[in-house]
Amino acid sequence: MLWPIDLIVLTFVIVTAVAAISVRDLLGTAILFSVYSFMMCLLWAVMGAVDVAFTEASVGAGVSTVFFVAAVFSTSRRTKD
């Protein structure tokens, strides 16, 4: 594995994680969270954990985001921080 790819993706993961918890709109958080999961999935695919990457792509980036949006839909998208 090329180490720069790993490092770049890992940096993206950290940046999206920080962004997801600091954005002031819960729908934005939902999307950034999905991006975060997808980056994580890429990282695992790079590391050779294909099954885990597949699961994360379908669960983390897919279904969890849908649950998230559904929950925001039935509550509110307002957040103070």
């Binding site: 918890i21 819960l26 099954d51 279904v63 969890s64």
Partner: protein
């Protein structure tokens, strides 16, 4: 100097995982919005999963699916070298952990919806105010 560089190269991955975990933990403790806390929880859990998955990684090995598995039995089956394949065990453990984390996430979302139905807010300070009013 070279020692430090080799230490950094060998360990920086672990350090970054720990930074990620701490981001999640901080969000869980310090954020005010319940759903933000949930996001922090998920980041914390995925960082742990990342830590596990990386323990299985071996330089110079490929994904844990045996090639030519149906080519033959007996003599040929013994040719599999453990060094050629990535350790499958952490992957298995983490599949379970991902499932557990999504289940927890679903239950937590349901709880958030229940709380919102009752109090019309998800901010922790407002909830505390509503509780002390009663």
């Amino acid at each position: 100097m070279t020692e430090i560089i080799s230490l950094v190269v060998a360990k920086y991955n672990y350090w970054l995982y720990i930074i990620l975990m701490m981001i999640g933990l901080y969000a869980m403790i310090a954020k005010n919005n319940l759903i933000k806390k949930l996001v922090g929880m998920n980041i914390f859990q995925t960082a742990i999963i990342l830590f596990y998955v990386s323990t299985g990684y071996k330089t110079g090995a490929t994904i844990p699916i045996i090639k030519n598995a149906h080519g033959g039995h007996g003599v040929e089956a013994a040719v599999i070298h453990a060094a050629d394949y990535i350790n499958p065990l952490p992957h298995v453990l983490m599949l379970t952990a991902i499932v557990v984390s999504v289940a927890t996430f679903g239950v937590a979302m349901a709880l958030c919806v229940r709380i919102y139905q009752r109090y019309q807010t998800l901010e922790e300070d407002e909830l505390r105010m509503r509780l002390s009013e009663k």
